[in-house]
């Protein structure tokens, strides 16, 4: 197949264009990991506030979650980039991370909450009856059971996050998608870069899915040796 060989040459090898893709992948992974980390932390905090406060703080979190679930990610990203954080000296990459953190923490918060609320109330009472403090009841009794419900959904949302990073090209971060676009704008080849980028994303998400499955096996009580 001379066509394929030529495509590989012009899209990847010529002028070391594969380096662009590698850098793009690096950026995609960076933004994804940071966002997952920070969004998880923030999601935990939001969830704690939402579940413990019945006053304005809880209502505030609820409103925040509703708002984040209603606004398109791309619009939020552009808003942060050009309007809200426009005077702040943050690099586009960090703005992207802030954006994903804000957006996905709302989703994570709801996932955590529904997981924890899915555990029967009797379990709390049982913990108290055994003389455990609320915190110990939560960590020893409730959380292990909730995790079994949380992790499958959390996994799906995490993969969604990784895929969503394909929009950060809009704020001039050269991620995997944008790198593919860049190569396309030079070689004018519609087919090869797109397919390659799709394959890399697929590999990335499959790999992540497999890793999370491993984690799931470790943390869910059913599959753990006690």
């Amino acid at each position: 197949m001379p066509g394929l060989r030529e495509s590989i040459y012009s899209n990847l090898l010529f002028e070391d264009r594969w380096l662009m893709l590698a850098d793009g992948l690096d950026n995609t992974i960076r933004v994804s990991l940071w966002s997952i980390l920070l969004a998880t932390l923030m999601g935990c905090m939001l969830c704690a506030i939402r579940m413990n406060s019945r006053r304005w703080a809880g209502v505030g979190v609820k409103l925040y979650v509703e708002l984040m679930r209603a606004i398109p990610l791309l619009v939020l990203l552009l808003l942060l980039f050009y309007v809200i954080l426009s005077e702040v000296a943050l690099s586009p990459m960090w703005i992207a991370i802030v954006c994903f953190t804000l957006y996905f923490s709302a989703y994570f918060c709801e996932i955590f909450r529904s997981g924890i609320e899915g555990v029967n109330r009797g379990q709390w009472e049982a913990g108290f009856a055994l003389g455990l403090t609320p915190w110990r009841t939560f960590t020893r009794v409730i959380l292990p059971q909730a995790l079994a419900k949380i992790i499958p959904v959390y996994k799906g949302q995490m993969i969604t996050l990784v895929k969503s990073t394909s929009i950060i090209g809009y704020v001039a971060v050269v991620d995997l998608t944008k790198a593919g676009d860049l190569i396309r704008s030079r070689t004018f080849d519609a087919f090869f870069p797109l397919l390659l980028v799709a394959a890399v994303y697929l590999l990335l998400t499959l790999l992540m899915g497999a890793l999370l499955d491993l984690l799931e096996k470790r943390v869910t009580p059913k599959s753990r040796r006690i």
Binding site: R69, A70, V75, K163, I167, R186, F188, A190, A198
Partner: protein, 499 residues
């Protein structure tokens, strides 16, 4: 063990924290293209300036769409941006605290681009061009345009033909919004190049259909047969000429480097917040009837959303049926297809469908979008349907069979009504996600709400107002949809309870 884990975490933290930072420098000694080394420069992706800066090397290139370049400099996202110098001269840069640093970057000529096979069309265009240049009409016409683009937009005969003469076809023309060459006024496409091209089509008897693309997507769109002509102030570089058959040049171009002016950035008008909002409202929505563009965009968003939801429900039902098949020969490949669809970003699927799979078909962006969204969300909906169906107790199926019902009857009368409430509950989130996701369809030349605001932004070069407006509209749309679906959910669950 913990020691090693700690080392790994530390290494990961170091790698993560090496994300690039921001810097600002003195710009007074930058007077030529070579001096741009070490500075951040915003350019339109895939344009000639992009290529030029890559060749110089050492420049921090910020690649954005055309309409965002000036805003990026204004907001300090880049130190310079390179615009067309004629366009830059037309803008009121001073009031925005900006100035032209130097001009005449990469001076050259631009022309229309055709497919290599289309030499007949190109020759016809060249003949037309030669004729009007020879009779001297062209120069005076161009001068008039350059003197006052906005009033010319009315005087011009910018009426695209909608019906081709017998024996002629409809030309699909790919454009990027680029004032004053191609822009919208009163919701009508006009501009120097548009006017010129309409005139050619009028004479030659072609019908015209303009489609708005990103600049970097124009040549792939031409080569994959999506469009017949590129009309986008495209410079004739050698690299492009290998892919595109250029017409004779008909317009000149050159770039101007714009940066924040030396005397303290926002020296311009600092009106009160309310006044600025009023001003923005007028510029973006009232003048040149921007609201009509937005309303059309909203309508397109709604239409695409509704069609996509329908397609996704159908695809989801089919995928769910196949996935739940008891034959592994069927269920296993379906599972793989679902995993693949869920593993690739929607944007990539959309572009694959548009440029590769349906490249040669004349399907419009809207339909390709509906099919892509249908497939992608079909995979998600299918899994939602499956978990809904699986949550119905096996005993229900057995009870149905014991009553002498066929499998289909059990499904329709017993299992499905029970699953439906649960399905709708989860589906609500997915449907809202779908509606929000339609904001990417601008990539395949569909002018939806987001793209409409992009177009307005490209004209008014105002970042704030259109973005806020668009986000408010999306939030309303999502809330309305959520409320509608909740009502349906309540009705369905109460109905199934009554049975």
């Amino acid at each position: 063990m913990t020691g090693r884990l700690f080392m790994i975490l530390l290494a990961a933290a170091l790698w993560l924290s090496s994300c690039k930072g921001h810097m600002t420098q003195d710009l007074s000694d930058v007077n030529s293209v070579e001096d741009l080394r070490g500075h951040s420069v915003a350019v339109a992706m895939g344009g000639s300036y992009d290529l030029m800066l890559s060749e110089i090397g050492g420049v921090d290139i910020v690649r954005l769409s055309l309409g965002e370049l000036l805003v990026a400099v204004e907001k300090g996202r880049a130190e310079f941006c390179i615009l067309d110098q004629y366009q830059a001269a037309m803008l009121n840069l001073q009031s925005r605290g900006l100035e032209i640093k130097f001009k005449n970057i990469l001076k050259g000529t631009a022309g229309a681009g055709f497919r290599k096979e289309d030499s007949l069309l190109c020759r016809g265009f060249n003949d037309h061009l030669k004729r009007i240049i020879d009779c001297g009409e062209y120069d005076s016409w161009l001068d008039e345009w350059k003197a006052a683009p906005d009033s010319m937009a009315y005087a011009s005969f910018a009426v695209p033909r909608h019906e081709a003469e017998p024996g002629r076809r409809a030309l699909h023309v790919g454009i990027t919004i680029n004032y004053p060459y191609l822009f919208l006024k009163d919701n009508r496409l006009t501009g120097i190049e548009v006017d010129f091209f309409n005139r050619f089509c009028e004479e030659a008897g072609y019908a015209v259909d303009y489609e708005i693309y990103d600049f970097s997507a124009l040549i792939p769109a031409l080569n994959s047969g999506k469009i017949d002509v590129i009309l986008s102030h495209m410079r004739m570089t050698e690299e492009r000429a290998r892919q595109v058959l250029f017409s004779n040049p008909y317009i000149e171009g050159g770039g101007a480097a714009v940066c924040r002016s030396a005397e303290g950035g926002a020296a311009g008008v600092r009106a009160g917040f309310l006044d600025r909002m009023k001003e923005s409202f007028r510029n973006n929505l009232v003048e040149e009837q921007g609201w009509r563009l937005m309303a059309d965009g909203l309508w397109v968003t709604i239409r695409i959303s509704v069609l996509s939801i329908l397609a996704a429900v159908m695809a989801g039902a089919a995928l769910c049926r196949l996935r739940m098949s008891r034959r592994r020969m069927v269920s296993l490949p379906t599972g793989i297809v679902i995993d693949v669809l869920r593993g690739i970003p929607l944007l990539v699927i959309l572009m694959l469908m548009f440029y590769v799979i349906f490249a040669s078909s004349r399907m419009t962006g809207t339909w390709v979008t509906v099919m892509s969204f249908g497939l992608y969300y079909g995979a998600y909906f299918g899994e939602v349907f499956r978990t809904g169906m699986e949550s119905v107790d096996k005993g229900q199926w057995e009870a149905g069979s014991a009553l002498g019902m066929s499998r289909f009857q059990v499904f329709r009368k017993i299992a499905f009504p029970q699953a439906l409430g649960r399905i709708i509950h989860v589906l609500k989130g997915e449907v809202i996600a779908l509606i929000k996701m339609t904001s990417v369809v601008g990539y395949v030349a569909v002018v939806d709400l987001t793209k409409a605001s992009d177009i307005i932004r490209a004209r008014t070069l105002d970042a704030f107002f259109p973005l806020i407006l668009v986000s408010v509209v999306y939030i309303l749309l999502a809330w309305l949809t959520g409320m509608g679906l909740e009502t349906i959910e309540r009705q369905l669950t109460s109905k199934s309870r009554r049975l």
